[in-house]
Symmetry: C2
Subunit: 280 residues, 2 copies
């Protein structure tokens, strides 16, 4: 992997890297914030999965998260939201909710997506393995969070791999992709019409099947979020958790929308939540 | 003035406004962060002047300043860096250090600039007057800060109008524009070759002529800043302050560059500095 940009930030280093991804079969870019303590010892890491249309840079520049990562001396790992490149399939109509910027953190099995859209394996296996070789991260102490499509990614990835993550949280996640337009469009294209293939990538379905005792899902949702009713459906998440006994802390934040101003306002509390779990 | 965007942020409101500017003779866009307390009473305000190529949005999205403004319950006012529009003169070669995005916070007296480039009057008079009519800001409690070209703007504006500002600070300011390429280019175009016209807009010249007892200039400068030696010249600022007895706190921040990662790392301390001055 090659460092393509770096700057000192809150005593640590904000860097951007490029590497050849085997799972996605293309070059991928990601960003990492390493706190000062990483110069002396491996530090725990919080993975952040971004939402539709984002790259690795949105959270880096807009969330103000480095301040809190420095406070708790943990690293932030910020992957891109899809494979990209000249030879990588994209939505034919250039729509923003499919293809580039919209990988949905699944392993695609349908044409033309399956050659490159393997974001699930990329986040769960390839990237942690790469980072453990090159950066001072404590591979035994990892947590995960994300926003919107990335909140969906964080929840499904943690629920499918509870042994890999100490804690999981989300901002305005797409909690039931099988039951909203964004999710149905993506899952149909990437996985096909057979809905049994979708369950692994649907937070509500996973919770109904098997609650994970280890996790208390920590979720913030703005009440002024334009996508709340039609796409995000936090009430389905509440119902699924109640039905199965999954621990959930869902906070409705009055007046907040779907933007990074919402994320910036509460990312400090999420990072404190993860830092506490990563100390255990 | 018309509100064109707003979002809740750290309990307050991050908003963007558009209005017809008389001084600049064009439509201008600016951003304001109003903390929660402004719903009950007028709050003090910190003006932030951005650097070359910026709009009103860079500081809003990248500095993470709202968190600290909310902590101290003060407003942030973030103007654009120049007039803009179809009928507004711009650099013929579209260079980024003159014209749009590069108003240098002066009142231009040369053609073709003087019809629109009146950023000094805009920041000192027009914008505060407009805001006092429309927003819950305490007009008697205002401070000013900025970055690079905007650090130059903040320092020169405060030194020329000490009665209007409680305190002033800067990140990596262009401290002696008469003695660096960026400044000379801009001042020649906007003000002409007669250097006596430049003095009012040169921090070092102003300090040598008249130190301002009221101010302790608070300046942060990264040591890894690519522009330090050729454009920013903090040593000239130190010399001018020493020669005239102007109070100065200049901090060299080891390893920090010219980016918003540098600003984000120290904006909390600047806001605390201004909040303390605004309480007096």
């Amino acid at each position: 992997m090659e460092c393509i940009a770096q700057a000192k930030c809150f005593g640590g280093t904000q860097a951007q890297y490029k590497h050849r991804s085997e799972s996605n079969n293309c070059d991928m870019t990601f960003s990492v914030y390493l706190p000062e303590a990483s110069q002396q010892r491996p530090v725990p890491a919080l993975y952040w999965l971004s939402g539709l249309t984002c790259t690795d840079q949105n959270f880096v520049t807009k969330a103000g998260a480095q301040r809190y990562a420095a406070e708790h001396q943990l690293a932030l790992v910020m992957p891109d939201t899809s494979p990209r490149g000249e030879h990588v399939a994209d939505a034919e109509d250039s729509s923003w909710d499919l293809g580039a910027g919209a990988g949905f953190y699944v392993n695609a099995i349908q044409e033309p997506w399956r050659e490159h859209y393997q974001m699930y394996s990329y986040i769960v296996d390839e990237l942690p393995s790469l980072l453990s070789k090159h950066l001072p991260l404590d591979a035994q102490r990892t947590s995960i969070s994300g926003h919107s499509m990335g909140g969906h990614g964080a929840l499904t990835i943690a629920l499918n791999n509870p042994e890999k993550y100490h804690s999981v949280s989300a901002f305005a996640p797409i909690a039931a992709p099988s039951q909203c337009a964004w999710g149905i469009k993506a899952l149909q294209h990437y996985l096909g019409d057979e809905r049994s293939q979708w369950q692994k990538y649907d937070t509500c379905e996973l919770i109904k099947k098997q609650p994970i005792d280890k996790f208390n899902l920590f979720v913030d949702q703005g009440t002024a979020d334009d996508f709340l009713q039609d796409q995000l459906k936090p009430s389905l998440l509440e119902q699924a958790c109640e039905a199965s006994g999954q621990k959930l802390t869902l906070r409705y934040q009055e007046g907040y929308d779907h933007s990074y101003y919402f994320i910036a306002s509460f990312i400090g509390e999420h990072i404190a939540f993860h830092a506490a779990a990563l100390k255990e």
